[in-house]
Symmetry: C2
Subunit: 319 residues, 2 copies
């Protein structure tokens, strides 16, 4: 009888759920708009409804567990959330215990960056590797690390918040409250903000012409038709990412850096500049490490959450 797992990606906007086979295929999926202001009871009910629906579709397969990816940093060891900024009412909430009450199979809980790293490691661009760093570049920057063939968790399971390494003393304000974080310069949000500021000060760009919205998609579109400012903005973003990834090479010594998140949709355009920075500036022993695009796209975390259940069933390290 085949084994399957349920993955849940709990986000501030959407709760996404998938039924995942032991070889990482998504067999069924479901999603709901997160009722972010309604409090934990309601959000848990949403998760339960999605998971129960998928479990019913599992047929004769055995559900080995449910893995839940949540915005961090949360303490996945105790399972108690200190706070989830995008969701109301989760201060000091025993998320794991409350989830476990609602399911007959084991519940695993993981910070979202780590869940995505697990997904790419088990079923994506990092399959078969012992060491990788996954970085999501989206509204913010998050990440997760596989080191020496194991998931790097750290105290309270909170390792991998790579978006919050400082890249500029007293720099731009970051949503975390600090100034100068990698996220505050390299995220999609920061990229868009730079584009808006520069376009406003530049008369020779099509960006924002006629009152068009300037978002990251618009910048890449303009670049494709030769807009100089747009191309400069992209090269600058690639350099910021390359510099941040180079720091991560030196710190973790991965075999690969995997880039996911919204900006990875334009990975082909960003990649040469990122890799050029590494080749030029990384220490000699690290120059040959490749950066690759997440193979699972926006599903890295969802599939990784499910993979967590398979790993937990195999090694029994989640409980």
């Amino acid at each position: 009888m085949s084994e399957i797992a349920i993955g849940i990606d709990l986000g501030g906007t959407q709760v996404r759920a998938a039924l995942v086979s032991a070889d990482g295929r998504v067999l069924a999926r479901a999603e709901d708009r997160t009722d972010a202001m309604a409090g934990p009871e309601r959000v848990l009910a949403q998760i339960q409804a999605l998971a129960d629906g998928l479990a019913a579709a599992a047929g004769t397969a055995t559900v080995v567990g449910i893995g839940v990816s949540t915005p961090g940093p949360i303490d996945t060891v105790s399972g108690i959330t200190r706070d989830i900024p995008t969701l109301a009412g989760f201060a000091d909430f025993p998320l794991k215990a409350e989830l476990q009450k609602r399911f007959a199979f084991p519940v695993s809980l993981e910070n979202d960056g780590i869940a995505a790293a697990i997904g790419e490691w088990q079923f994506g661009a990092g399959r078969g590797l012992e060491n990788l760093v996954y970085v999501t570049v989206s509204t913010g920057i998050g990440g997760g690390v596989i080191a020496d063939g194991r998931v790097l968790r750290g105290r309270k399971g909170m390792a991998g918040h790579v978006g919050h390494m400082s890249v500029m003393p007293d720099g731009a304000l970051c949503p975390c409250g600090n100034k100068g974080c990698f996220e505050a310069y390299g995220s999609g949000t920061a990229f868009t903000r730079r584009a808006q500021d520069r376009a406003f000060a530049c008369t020779e760009t099509r960006l924002g012409a006629g009152g068009d919205v300037i978002d990251s998609r618009a910048v890449f579109a303009a670049a494709r038709v030769g807009d100089a400012l747009a191309n400069d903005l992209i090269e600058e973003e690639a350099e910021i990412l390359g510099r941040g990834f180079t720091s991560l090479l030196h710190i973790f010594s991965p075999e690969i850096v995997i880039m996911g998140g919204g900006l990875s949709h334009e990975f082909e355009r960003l990649h040469p500049g990122i890799q050029r920075y590494i080749t030029e500036w990384a220490m000699p022993a690290f120059k040959d490490v490749p950066v690759m695009r997440a193979a699972l796209g926006q599903n890295s975390g969802l599939i990784g959450a499910a993979a967590l259940s398979f790993l937990a069933a195999e090694f029994d390290f989640s409980s």
Copy 2:
């Protein structure tokens, strides 16, 4: 019959050796000035002479192995050095194999930052912990990490080069060739250079008065008698270290950050400023992580190299 190990700390200036008991006590020691320009044969002969002398002093105890800490980054998996900047002739040299030829007991090889982290983990300030980051702040900045109860090694065993995370885009030149590394701002060398520059431009400091040499010792001495510039320089250094350590908290989620190296001699003076930065700027879940001084002082790496032999004998993961 008791078990002992030999630790070797191979540095650009000195080769230090110690006979270490299974509970981390240094039973005997020996050292020699590194013949840095004479090539590997000569340096290996130095290591062998020191180790043989200590082994002869071991009496009835069993020598379980010899652990060698070297300046990195070197590939400790293959054991072949790509280059050791401070030692001539080590390009593509099979260091581990050549060492092993010379000894009857197992040889372990480790990057120096990782060796020191192991020393502090097994016998020092991080005893009994599952997660720690060790940072040496000296001529340069190096480090090593224990995560989830294991030594973090990464590809080729080169993880932990925390001195080479970028903290300033296009910043000060770093000995590694890049610009803006943590090492280029936070190291003892950078601290001394700032002191020299500022003292030169300041008429109201005793630093450098009468042609006195300005080194880090002089800055701390001047600060103790109320020199305002010296105290400002120290607060700035503490802030730079605090900012770098905060990045490491977010990336690794350790239970503790352990500071070693030359500047840790003035840990008491630097610590309040370092901890203040963390308390103010780390994300809430990381604010309570303490920074402590290396308990083994300048012997973290030496004792860690020996500890490596005990770990290798226990888990057999070095060969």
